[in-house]
Amino acid sequence: MITIIDYGVGNLFSLKSSLQAIHVEAQVTADMDTIVHADKIILPGVGAFGDAAKKLRQTGLDKIAVERASEGIPLLGICVGMQLLFERSHEFGVHPGLGLIPGEVKPIRETISSELKIPQIGWNQLQMIQKEHPLFRYLRDGAYVYFVHSYHAVTPREYVLARTDYGGLLTAAVARENVMGCQFHPEKSGRAGLAILKAFAEL
């Protein structure tokens, strides 16, 4: 059973449906008790980092997520949910994150060539750094996944699972032990996305 944390950010319909499609039981909840007993957690998120971080704190679910992660259960952050795993973000000011993975969230503009459009919207290829990571068990290097973002994580290479080339290399997937994250949307990435969710469900 995967527990999807619902803290009022974004649309969780597709995420839940995609897990159903691969026959993985999932529940969407904001209930603390349920999350305290979850054995696998997905932290979703869209929109601006500051708003998402604030909402997560207001619900008090930030502390539980950190506690559960430090107890060693698998945690997967998606999009802004992935960004929240880092120490801080520079989106509209400086906002603290959960600090589960060392690094910062910075504008992709600082990394990519200036003529490219921002946000990056569309399908781009994964360049795997850690091909053997269990999250990539069913996925081949070079698979296409769907991105929508203007910021990305700047983190030491040891935490980078995969990058993507958008006129400069951007962080696409990260992990530090049991804490993992995807900048792209696995629930919108066709078969490749389902392959990642399936691998996560089997951890």
Binding site: N11, F13, S14, S17, S18, Q20, A21, V46, G47, A48, K117, I118, P119, Q120, I121, G122, W123, N124, Q125, Y138, L139, R140, A143, Y144, V145, Y146, F147, V148, D165, Y166, G167, E187, K188, S189, G190, R191, A192, G193, L194, A195, K198
Partner: protein, 262 residues
């Protein structure tokens, strides 16, 4: 690098795909859910659903269909048609849409764009524009291309992006249905006017039309079409293979033996 996107568009009335289809192997060729699943399976990069229903009953059926599609198809889904209020955004987003396309509703009330962008983010707001040449100007038409708004298309698009629209769908009325290629001149002007992704619509008649589009205008991000896909004139896997061979970056899904992985 990021790929160019191929986007089939489905017009839905009273729960059925309006333009006829000639697909073999589909139990119900007019079922939007089945057609969407087929396109997704064939490698469509995104789907657009236009609700062309007039009645409220039809609208309810549409939302049901959307919900069913979104629970089976895991690529980005854009919904348009009759979106006039924030409540309309809310209704389709709750049923699994990822982006909402506004057209006449935004012309009536441009603030709809900024309200929606603020609430759901710019990535969620697609401004769809029907434009046509009038007196040497690209003019915006509303109500499905029937009414001349006297607005300059480039000005309107710039304004829309300023208000928070995250993508533009440009449908050229001049080339729509002619099947002799996209409106390169109009698209070039739009690409020069804004920095957000531009989706070309209207005029695709052959695979070469897509090649010409992407090669002539590197600023265009996606090509959208309806009938050439629905009538089976062009199959999406063939189109993507063709463009890939012509050196245009395409997402080609490779299947492992277990049928998984991208």
């Amino acid at each position: 690098m990021i790929t160019k996107r191929i986007i089939p568009c489905l017009d839905v009335r009273d729960g059925r795909v309006v333009k006829g289809t000639r697909f073999l192997g589909l139990r119900d060729v007019a079922s939007p859910v089945e057609l969407a699943a087929l396109y997704s399976d064939q490698g469509a990069d995104e789907l657009v659903f236009y609700d062309i229903t007039a009645s409220s009953d039809g609208r309810k059926i549409f939302t049901e269909i959307l919900r069913e599609t979104a629970s089976r198809v895991f690529i980005p889904l854009t919904v348009g048609g009759g979106i006039s209020t924030i409540e309309d955004f809310d209704r389709v987003l709750k049923c699994g849409a990822d982006k909402v396309s506004v057209n006449s509703g935004a012309l009536r009330d441009p603030e709809l764009i900024s309200q929606a962008a603020k609430k759901y983010g710019s990535q969620c707001v697609v401004l769809s524009v029907d434009a046509k040449r009038v007196d040497g100007q690209f003019r915006v038409f509303s109500k499905g291309g029937r009414e001349d708004t006297s607005l300059d298309a480039l000005e309107w698009i710039r304004k829309g992006v300023g208000l928070g629209a995250g993508e533009i769908v440009l449908n050229s009325i001049d080339t729509d249905g002619v099947k002799k290629g996209f409106d390169l001149e109009m698209l070039e002007a739009v690409c020069a006017a804004v920095q957000v992704p531009v989706i070309a619509s209207g005029g695709a008649g052959s695979m070469e039309d897509f090649e010409i589009l992407f090669k002539t205008l590197p600023g265009v991000d996606a090509g959208l079409a309806a009938s050439i896909f629905h009538f089976g004139q062009i199959r999406i896997p063939d189109l993507k293979q063709f463009l890939d061979e012509k050196g245009i970056n395409m997402r080609i899904e490779k299947r492992d033996e277990d049928g998984f992985a991208g």
